[in-house]
Amino acid sequence: MLEFEDLAYEEAGNYAGLTLRKYPPLVIFIDECHQLKRPVQDALLTMTEPTEKRAILPLFAADMSNATFLFATTDIGQMAKPLKTRAREINLQPYEPEEIAEILGRIHKGWSPVVRRLLAFAGRLTPRIAKERAKDLDRILKQDFEGQKPNENLVLGIMKEEWGQDRNGMTERDRRYLKVVADAKGAIGGENIAQQLGIEVAEAENDIEPFLLRLGLLRKGPTGRELTERGRGFLESTE
């Protein structure tokens, strides 16, 4: 999982017959920590023990007293409880369109707030995708529009023609998804939706649903997915 061999260290004596290596100030970032297997989570317990902070590895022991552990997870419920108690939980909120527009503004300084806000939706309210869209727009502007500054109408046109999106960033695939949910009698499961759309469950759950949930068109409960009033209204307006 983590390899310490290449880090600079100094020998710091002996630890139960193993050489004890002392590492420099270190921030250890463990991403998607809910996916770690239980034995690994258990091993991390001793490493994060406030008074110990040691890792016993096959060939040596590592003194981790200089280490700060940062974990990241999209599913805190899957983490082992003891490990959870070793760290302070800080919750990060999804980005608002204006915040994504601000992020884009740091890269594309001359672009108007309206354009950047549209790109936030084109990026499905995800900074990473919004940056990709902005990059693509920049390419199109240079290639087809002699490097002109983007305006609202131009971006709306590109969203429609190039990316198959309306001004809210919705695609035909999103609309078909909503239609399947609307046609179901009551709540419908993710697998069922994916099957009807002919796509993988992961695609439905990771690529489509989060955006529809953010737009408030969809509701996800223990029994499955349902359209919200807004979702129904949206479908009616586009039919």
Partner: protein, 231 residues
Amino acid sequence: MSIHIQKATQGTYHCSKRGYEILKEIAKKAGFPSDNIVARLAIGRSLIERQDVKRDPRLPGSFDNEGKELKGITLFNPEIAPVMVSLIVQHYGKPLENPENIKELVRLHWERGLLLLQEDLDHEDGDIDNLLINFATQSCLTEEGELEEEYPEGFDLLDAKIVGQEEAKKQVRRLLKEAKGLLPVCLTDNIIFTGPASTGKTLFSKTIAESFKASLCRNHRYKSSKRGTAI
């Protein structure tokens, strides 16, 4: 200096297997006709770092030679050799004990530069254009005291790097303040960042590492902080 140039352009250099993977990835993403360009770019990138490359703990004690093989004369063609070699010697900060040592410095800068370019690329979410723009606007002639001037009193690295997430920033800021008086710098609490995908969990972690000027070690593959000391 001419003896240094002569030594630097003689013989063959190798990079590690890991370094070569980074080299190929960046060359492909950037659409460069040859990955030799990335090798030079990497050396330039390493020269921006003030830290002595020979004492940089990010680099392992020894390298495999399973990566790219490059002749010295190709890496440093006659036009750029004087400039590159001068910068490398200037970065070293003192006369080389032995002209042969230039080869070791070149190798170390190459390897470190590749790691840094990979890190920059991750920092830019894979956007090679941003990487190159940022690279082009950084000065390779750093002055003493620049690091201190870079973060003046009251400068908030979290605000500079992260948009929004005010509540999370408040909590992290409090922990950083507590950690400031500790030696070595270390958060008093570990942190679990929770939240949906793409909300800045990795960015927070990188920023904390950067504010400590500490290394950032990441599971599965190495990542390091922009001005970190080791990976």
